[in-house]
């Protein structure tokens, strides 16, 4: 394989103390506008209004640090973090780490966004409501479904909302108690099982057949008059498109259940295939994945939830309507599940998704999907050539937006695990994520290139992967003891599962290690 130049990377290592270690009595980071003299004269200290037992006796043990030192501390921490803006972030498969355009950041920083209160009179937020309404209509076109709620605060919240709607639907038909099972698949996101279980459902998980696709015979055996619904991704984490998906939805519908499509990641199929054609009743898109809003170290986010016409009345309230002149909040959904998040959802995320779609348009969305798939299959071809790596299932077939690979052979031959390879990849400035549990694919890793990275960048990532695999055979100790060029060295995880030793806060750490401040 032709190898591209390997970067001589070293991550910033500031050896920065914990924030509490920076405290210096008397330092101040920020002064506020205190009450005017006249107020003080009229009211007194204000605190006297509190009954004695409600007064805080001792000031909170926060550190005292001057402003520039606080800034420097957090800037240094930021430098010890690899965002998608800095690395070739294709190694976090399923997460869709694409480019989040900077113009959208400029737009969301406008006071016209940041300084809006969610309870303002409708007449004063026509711009915000217009964006929400229009994004809803865009997503209807993209999915083929009839109405979206942009309220859920993430993909898992949207899954919980889907499970809630499924339950409310069966309740309306007097079948909620009887239909207490949700079916999902092992290569669907863990939350498809977990959020539905949180709604009180028993979970039936369909495993893969020899081709890596969810086994349709198992599905047939699983459905009954207890079936409430199906929650499934397609393509699943393997990146293999399930060509029998319409058969899945038909089997569920025939059994009286509803079908929810987890499209958290829809990046390979925009404009290619939709929830509607596969006959789903519900779907959701993560606006922080496919629709480019940045991931923010794990949110804030939006799981945009769509439904067919017959389920609109079940959506969380309010949705945004338009009467031809004005945008307004519509609470009139008689069977609404209520709410899944305060107010209307995360508006900056909604705005970024709106701007991203407007920049690309219909053909651009399809081009983004197509190139994401092109990039993925290009990588598939390259990874298969790496000694010790393989792409289980669907031999000789193409994949959609990602592939779940395996280091099984490499581990067998060298003893080096996926986790150790991930650590070594950090030395080249890259992430390599293993996979969701359980590890059905042995020693898994999942790569999803999206449309955002150039061929040269992809080649560089592959070269690093190739180099680390080579090292595993030739110099395993180097991989085992990695990372060498990252912020920290091999972490001792033994304390993290031990209640006597774990320390979730600095004060707990000081107590458990008998350290005096």
């Amino acid at each position: 394989m032709k190898t591209t130049r390997l970067r001589k990377f070293h991550q910033a290592k500031w050896d920065e103390p914990i924030i509490f270690e920076l405290t210096k009595k008397g330092e101040r980071g920020l002064l506020i506008s205190e009450a005017e003299k006249e107020i003080e004269e009229s009211i007194g200290d204000g605190i006297s209004a509190l009954p004695d037992k409600m007064k805080r006796k001792k000031a909170p043990g926060l550190p005292e640090i001057s402003q520039m030192r606080v800034l420097k501390h957090y800037l240094r921490l930021s430098q010890q973090c690899l965002g998608a803006d800095l690395n070739v972030d294709i190694g976090q498969g399923t997460c869709t780490m694409k480019y989040s355009p900077k113009i959208n950041e400029i737009l969301i920083r406008s006071p016209k966004v940041t300084e809006l209160h969610p309870l303002q009179d409708e007449s004063t937020v026509q711009g915000a409501l217009e964006i929400i309404y229009k994004l809803d209509t865009f997503l209807r076109e993209i999915s083929g479904l009839s109405q979206f709620s942009l309220q859920p605060g993430g993909g898992s919240s949207a899954i919980f909302a889907m499970a809630s709607i499924i339950r409310a639907y069966h309740e309306a038909n007097g079948e909620a108690e009887q239909r207490d099972e949700i079916i999902t698949t092992i290569f669907s996101h863990p939350s498809d099982a977990a959020a539905a279980a949180s709604k009180g459902y028993k979970i039936i998980t369909i495993f893969q057949d020899k081709d890596g696709l969810p086994d349709v015979e198992s599905l047939k055996n699983a459905v009954s008059n207890k079936t409430a619904g199906l929650l499934i991704t397609n393509p699943e984490d393997t990146g293999i498109f399930n060509p029998r998906i319409a058969e899945f939805t038909r089997i569920i519908h025939d059994a009286g259940g509803l079908c929810g499509y987890d499209q958290a990641n829809a990046n390979g199929i925009l404009g290619i295939t939709r929830a509607k054609e596969a006959d789903f009743d519900l779907c959701f898109f993560n606006l922080h994945k496919t629709f480019s809003s940045p991931h923010g170290c794990g949110g804030p986010a939006v799981g945009a939830l769509g439904v067919t016409k017959r389920l609109i009345n079940y959506l969380p309230v309010p949705i945004v309507g338009f009467d031809g002149e004005k945008y307004f909040l519509n609470y009139n959904l008689p069977r609404s599940i209520g709410k899944v998040r305060g107010f209307l959802g995360v508006f900056p995320v909604i705005l970024r998704a709106y701007a991203w779609i407007m920049s690309l348009g219909a053909l651009g969305l399809k081009e983004a999907a197509s190139i994401a798939v092109l990039n993925n299959n290009y990588i598939l071809n390259k990874v298969k050539q790496i000694h010790g790596a393989s792409a289980p299932y669907a031999k000789g077939r193409h994949r959609i937006e990602q592939v779940r690979y395996s280091w099984e052979k490499l581990t067998e031959e060298t003893g080096i695990s996926t986790e150790e390879i991930s650590c070594r990849m950090a030395d080249f400035g890259f992430h390599l994520w293993s996979s969701h549990h359980p590890f059905i694919v042995p020693q898994p890793f999942t790569i999803e290139p999206t449309e955002s990275y150039s061929k040269d960048e992809i080649d560089e990532y592959i070269s690093a992967l190739n180099e680390v695999a080579k090292e595993a055979y030739q110099n395993p100790e180097k991989v085992k003891n990695s990372p060498h060029n990252s912020v920290v060295h091999k972490i001792d995880n033994s304390t993290l599962d031990n209640p006597e030793k774990w320390a979730i806060t600095w004060r707990a750490y000081l107590k458990k290690n008998k350290i005096k401040e």
């Binding site: 924030i19 980071g29 002064l31 205190e34 009450a35 009211i43 209004a49 409600m54 007064k55 805080r56 043990g61 926060l62 550190p63 640090i65 957090y74 921490l77 430098q79 800095l86 972030d89 480019y99 300084e115 809006l116 209160h117 969610p118 007449s123 026509q126 711009g127 915000a128 605060g153 539905a196 998906i245 319409a246 290619i272 295939t273 054609e277 596969a278 480019s292 991931h295 923010g296 949110g299 804030p300 969380p316 998040r341 107010f343 920049s359 348009g361 399809k366 081009e367 190139i371 950090a426 994520w433 549990h437 990372p483 091999k490 001792d492 995880n493 304390t495 599962d497 209640p499 806060t505």
Partner: protein, 472 residues
């Protein structure tokens, strides 16, 4: 695409024709359609997505979006007294500087090696909140207070093995909608009456309703209606005597001056961190926290990520990682505790920056200033003929009910008039709490000046004296 035929969109490098051709060749296919060969024709979308004309020019896009946004009127352009779950506080410049950093903004789920900074920043956030709350365990943020309260309730049920929760009927209606949906059909939610004079929970009602089925009592301080629930100790004692937990929602902004719930017996504490350095963002700034003591039976019931500090192979080096990862749904799917996914982590980092800047004295002064300014506002508003604030005879923090009943004017009309004077009046409570009649929930924080409060009072008094305002 609307760019010139053959030219690549700036967001999609490999749509450059030569690159695309090279890659296709290497894969061994003639065109991209072949890569979709697994998708049956019947499932393929034959049409074109019906979307407005694309604006690939960055300038055109900026103009377009700004034109829509210009239709918004903000709490900066106007004088706002809205609260009720989202609050206008001052956001220090450094909070935005940090949360806009590419490294934090575009990171996600990296390992503690390459994302050491993300782990440390969120560990520090947990630690700073722990000081404010005087508790030893705080989670990586969940979606918002609504979710934090819902999960706290579900945790209490798992910890006690019971399935009923008693909560104050003054909890925000929005929050109650989330809690009810999140608990149904697992947990029974029963409401407790409040004393019409003070707003406090009616202890007799509580005593008559608490039972061996009760997993916990949930109340808020300050309550949604602004008053403080001063019976914290009594409520926690009653819960504990009955084998139930005390769950308290709290505004962390108040904790420089007001005793944290752990001081009056709370077992699980939750709330929202939006007030700690995050812009309102039309409600998008919300993020929830949950705190407990460091006991295994509590820690093991969190669904959230909990970042812990540990050692590395190098002496003196701090490392970080997930504490008890296997309790989560990432570890165990449906057998994990509730579920976990992307929530509101960036706002956690931001709140950490805020608390680092404020320090102990800053939080004390903030709390004191808010109490002074809100008390001043109540005093001045009460001087208006027929208007009374607060409604409840209790200490308040930053929000309070203004009672307009004696003016016979509905809040809706008052707010309409205020809006003409560029004032966003307090939230109209008449739909959610019809028994209160014409009442509004006002919020006064450290950002309100005396002049602004005086101007509210002046305008209010003017509009109420105007003859044309509709009487209810």
């Amino acid at each position: 695409m609307n760019t010139k035929k053959g030219s690549a969109h700036p967001y999609i490098p490999n749509s450059a024709p030569e690159v695309k051709a090279k890659m296709l060749k290497e894969i061994g296919v003639n065109n991209i359609d072949e890569l979709y060969s697994d998708i049956p024709e019947t499932l393929k979308f034959k049409g074109n997505i019906n979307l407005p004309k694309a604006l690939p020019s960055e300038y055109a896009l900026k103009r377009h979006v700004e034109e829509i946004l210009s239709k918004n009127q903000t709490c900066e352009d106007n004088l706002s007294f809205l609260g009720g779950g989202c609050w206008q506080h001052y956001v220090p410049a450094i909070c935005d500087e940090i949360n806009q950093r590419s490294e934090f903004l575009t990171a996600y789920a990296g390992e503690p090696y390459e994302d050491h900074g993300r782990f440390q920043a969120l560990f520090e956030y947990e630690s700073l909140m722990a000081e404010l709350l005087d508790m030893d365990v705080v989670n990586v943020p969940t979606y918002d207070w609504c979710q934090a309260a819902s999960t706290s309730i579900r945790m209490a049920c798992r910890i006690t093995g019971r399935n009923e929760i008693l909560l104050s009927d003054t909890v925000s209606p929005d929050r109650l909608l989330v809690i009810n949906n999140y608990c149904r059909p697992i947990v029974n939610i029963k409401t407790l009456k409040h004393c019409p004079k003070t707003g406090a929970i009616d202890l007799n009602d509580l005593k008559s309703k608490i039972s061996p089925r009760t997993a916990g009592i949930y109340f808020e301080n300050p309550s949604y209606l602004g008053f403080l629930e001063s019976q914290g100790n009594a409520l926690s004692d009653i819960a504990h005597e009955n084998g139930a937990l005390s769950i308290v929602g709290v505004d962390p902004v108040s904790l420089g001056v007001i005793a944290p719930p752990s001081h009056y017996g709370a077992d699980i504490v939750c709330g929202d961190i939006q007030g700690l350095g995050v812009h309102m963002n039309y409600g998008g700034g919300l993020a929830g926290f949950i705190a407990t003591h460091d006991e295994e039976k509590f820690v093991m019931e969190y669904p959230s990520r909990l970042f812990g500090i540990t050692k590395t192979a190098v002496k003196g080096e701090y490392g970080f990682g997930d504490v008890a990862y296997d309790r989560t749904s990432f570890g165990l799917r449906e057998k994990g505790k509730e579920f976990i996914g992307t929530c509101s982590a960036l706002w956690g980092i931001t709140a950490g920056v805020y608390l680092s800047l404020m320090g102990p004295e800053g939080m004390q002064k903030l709390g004191k200033t808010i109490m002074q300014k809100s008390q001043y506002a109540m005093k001045k508003i009460s001087e208006i003929n027929g208007v009374k604030a607060p409604l409840f005879n209790a200490p308040h923090f930053k929000e309070f009910i203004v009672d307009f009943n004696d003016t016979k004017v509905p809040v809706k009309e008052i707010n309409k008039s205020l809006l003409k004077h560029a004032i966003f009046g307090g939230k109209d409570l008449s739909d959610d709490f019809p028994e209160l009649g014409s009442c509004a929930l006002y919020c006064v924080t450290e950002i309100h000046t005396k002049k602004e409060i005086d101007s509210l009072v002046q305008v209010l008094s003017d509009v109420l004296n105007k003859t044309d305002i509709k009487k209810g």
